[in-house]
Subunit: 304 residues, 4 copies
């Protein structure tokens, strides 16, 4: 079956999963997104892009932004990053202080909040203007100059910063944060506030499906070896504490965000982004997970 037909069928079949999850409501800008939004885009390494539903509408990518900032940091300092952040699944909720304390301020992996703050700290230390650098990275590889920070979302996150500020302060107390805490949080909340569409996301993630090369920008972003390694981190750590279940049901490296987005990678073939705001209890898009499970069933494609 053709990808477009598959996306159409998925859009149709996932409707009956709507109404079972809960839209993130810890900041107003997320809470007022309609629960029944659904969009999906699949971009192939050959340059084709298929979309369905609200795939061209911008939404808040939130934790999905941990992936471009990881790609930036790995490009800047390479293997040294792993001295400051691990790459093991956490087995705990994404904002856990417990694990951080047991492991002396070294976050378990770069996909939990503490680890992403360390990655942002690295980008801050290695870039003149970190906020601009992250935005440029996203714009260039999505091929869309209109992608922007949502300053209302960023301001709201800063207002509700205390949980993340606790993580940042704890890491600072253990010597694992080089920059000023306020600066790190400012960049971090801005990257989380990026507003972009499923189509943008699918295109931006193509380097991870294409041995490190962006077909959009016609540029190598990461070496082939590092590309595989980023995909490995996504598979083992990208879905908070539902990593095992997602690998079991979907079988693709992926990253989710509380804005309801999930981006997944089928190496050498495609990247795919889905958006549906209702979350399951681990904080991943409920309908989005079902859509991706259907995708691997209908295409017969997964990494396993």
């Amino acid at each position: 079956m053709h990808y477009q037909a598959i996306l159409n069928q998925i859009a149709d079949r996932v409707r009956h999963f709507q109404g079972r999850g809960k839209v993130a409501d810890y900041i107003p800008a997320l809470a007022r997104v309609p629960a029944d939004k659904f969009g999906m885009s699949l971009a192939t390494v050959d340059g084709d892009c298929y979309s369905v539903g609200d795939a061209h509408e911008n939404f808040s990518i939130q934790s999905i932004s941990k992936v471009p900032s990881l790609m930036l940091a790995v490009g800047q300092i390479g293997g040294k990053l792993w001295e400051r952040v691990g790459r093991e699944p956490s087995g705990d909720p994404f904002n856990s202080l417990v694990q951080l304390e047991f492991e002396n301020g070294i976050p378990r992996n770069p996909m939990i909040n503490a680890g992403a703050l360390v990655v942002t700290d690295c980008v801050l230390s290695n870039t003149r203007d970190a906020k601009q650098a992250i935005l440029d990275f996203v714009r260039v590889f999505a091929g869309d100059k209109n992608i922007h920070y949502d300053s209302e979302v960023a301001a709201s996150e800063m207002e509700h910063r205390f949980g993340n500020a606790a993580l940042a302060n704890y890491m600072k107390s253990r010597g694992n944060l080089a920059n000023d805490i306020e600066d790190v949080l400012d960049v971090y909340f801005h990257q989380c506030s990026i507003a972009m569409s499923c189509r943008d996301l699918a295109r931006m993630f193509l380097p991870l499906a294409n041995k490190g090369v962006s077909p959009i920008a016609n540029t190598r972003v990461l070496s082939e070896a590092r590309t595989k390694r980023v995909n490995a981190v996504l598979l083992t750590c990208g879905l908070y504490d539902a990593v095992g279940n997602f690998a079991f049901r979907v079988g693709l490296p992926a990253k989710s965000g509380v804005g309801g987005g999930i981006v997944a990678i089928m190496p050498n073939e495609f990247s795919v982004a889905v958006w549906a705001p209702e979350l399951e209890e681990s904080g991943n898009s409920l309908v989005g997970t079902e859509a991706l499970a259907l995708l691997t069933t209908l295409t017969g494609k997964s990494i396993f």
Copy 2:
């Protein structure tokens, strides 16, 4: 490069990693295995098998036995298994009581000891003679009638049973063990004591590389969907608390044992078994991990 040439090169290059790990010594039969043993076998879905070093020598497969017993149990009761055991990575050492208590006696996944005891309990409930059934399964799919239980190892494990007995008693206290504790431990220690070679192991695991069908026995063992799911469990849970690092460096679903064996799967292509007794601190073969990292580098093949 041809697989045989690659195996030869690996055998040559991993020598300088020897002497950095520690042979398991909690039972005498394991402690007296020479530390410098090294064998490796790669079996393709097309029926070829390549070997190097001590690949034909039997060793104690230990936790690798959790995979055939999982395949047996999934074949017997299917999805019902997941009501009694999870499929999330544990983030804790393989014999942790802590996690079990936090999660009320439901083990995190079937690759940690507690989870494997539940799987064994299922096999016991669904088979007339569980010890015979497990041995038959291994013999048939490895195509080797001489595979046997090592009764000295099984007796030693029973003598040092207290850690596993603590897990079993705790699960029994929470209602997650149907059979008598002594019976479950007896079957479990026997399956761990199975002695077989790299060649046997690579061949026995072929169904996981071949959409569920054993090319050796010419039989379907699992459906294609369940095969993918078992591979997903191996990738996220198969290497104790070095799961993320192994996915990062090797990039294949795999299972290790404290006897020094590791078996890995490249879906649709091959299964590969390696044996080198020295363990790193997480309990996985140190030289075996290096050998598999070299394999994915030299072949350019991984699931990512």
Copy 3:
């Protein structure tokens, strides 16, 4: 006010706290005890004893038995005991495996189940017939030859042994249990099954209120220094994870049991036992705690 008048007033006033707790029901013999039983006895160091309500009726002392076995073990091996068990409050439920694992098989204190099993193991190692020795100890210092083991309760506990067996196996695996697990559990469940009355208990605990000397048996049980130390352990560890609240509200060293008994000590003055089967959520007698809080309010006596 005279002690007898105070006890009468307490018995009257605590009635309205009945019906708010829950009788232990994990074994049938405990579950069928009427919830509205209430008895209380206060024995002074001068030899007087005052009682009210069901103070002469036998009940299952359960964890209160941890105190006589601790007194026996301290008398047998003295300070060496503290190499195998700590004396810090646990901050966790009384049967926690978590803490035991974090602390490598050394129980936090002798009042949690794991610690009491170590104490029982010591008594077993230092007595020809541990069951007889414990029973004799209790009979002599209570001055009542009719105190007995309740074999139905002991058998029930053995049948539901799995939680305690998990603790015992874990400690055995860490080298902190010298005797056979079944033997330790057998003695432990027997000591828990002892049936005696409030009056017996108040009299048996008098040595702790009387600088170590039993006025009943006219014998020194412990040195004055060790007596103070046992009282300190009771105050910081005797009420499971409600230790702080009990010290705050009652202000006396004490030990509770899931049979609904609590015994408390006012040094140099009296020991007091109360029985009321309904438990609060930490496993201590709800009405018993209120009765003791009233006692310290009405007498103006507490250690603080």
Copy 4:
């Protein structure tokens, strides 16, 4: 023996415990205090005060300040305080984030840092000028107008605030901190920086030995019932995670600080302060603990 003779003997005998601990060195002002300082003062409820050694020299009281601020807060809001902070021993190091997370931002007790921050937050909410109020409280009940904040210490603590800031941010994220984090930390670090002598401390704590009345200021500070309750909190929570050991060896309610001070209470008789900068591994004065153990041995007085 007379108290003065006992103090003299203690000062003599504890010398040989010197050199076994470690002076706190996380801020320069503490690190440069000579390790061999030793002072001790005992103030009786009758108005006598006995001293030995460096008892008139000021030192940084640090966590001992948690007691006067608790007395202030209990005086201001009474029992409502216990809705925001528990009163159970923690069983964990004094700055643990782990416990705070497990218990949803409600600190285990007011003697650990998180709990003391909540107490300070209460004082801030109920006082026009919290810093002045705390200083006045200490000056009045010690009867010494020269007691002052050490602004160098306070500034150093603020510079190394990250661990405490992590706790404060986490509690703010769970709704358990009413005031601005910076304000709470500012007051908290000031109260910790108070410089006073053993003599001042012994006198200031007299209300806890005297049913709530300060014989120095001739004023009631707390009701008799609340006095007992504060003493109960000190006994079960005042010595970090060495609470049980201190109760076992010393047997008095007490509070320690990393400046090397410990103040203890013998109800109805005396309060006693000791200062010796070297700490044992739990963060309590090593020589100070020995001095207090000698005091209870030589006087034969303890609450048990």
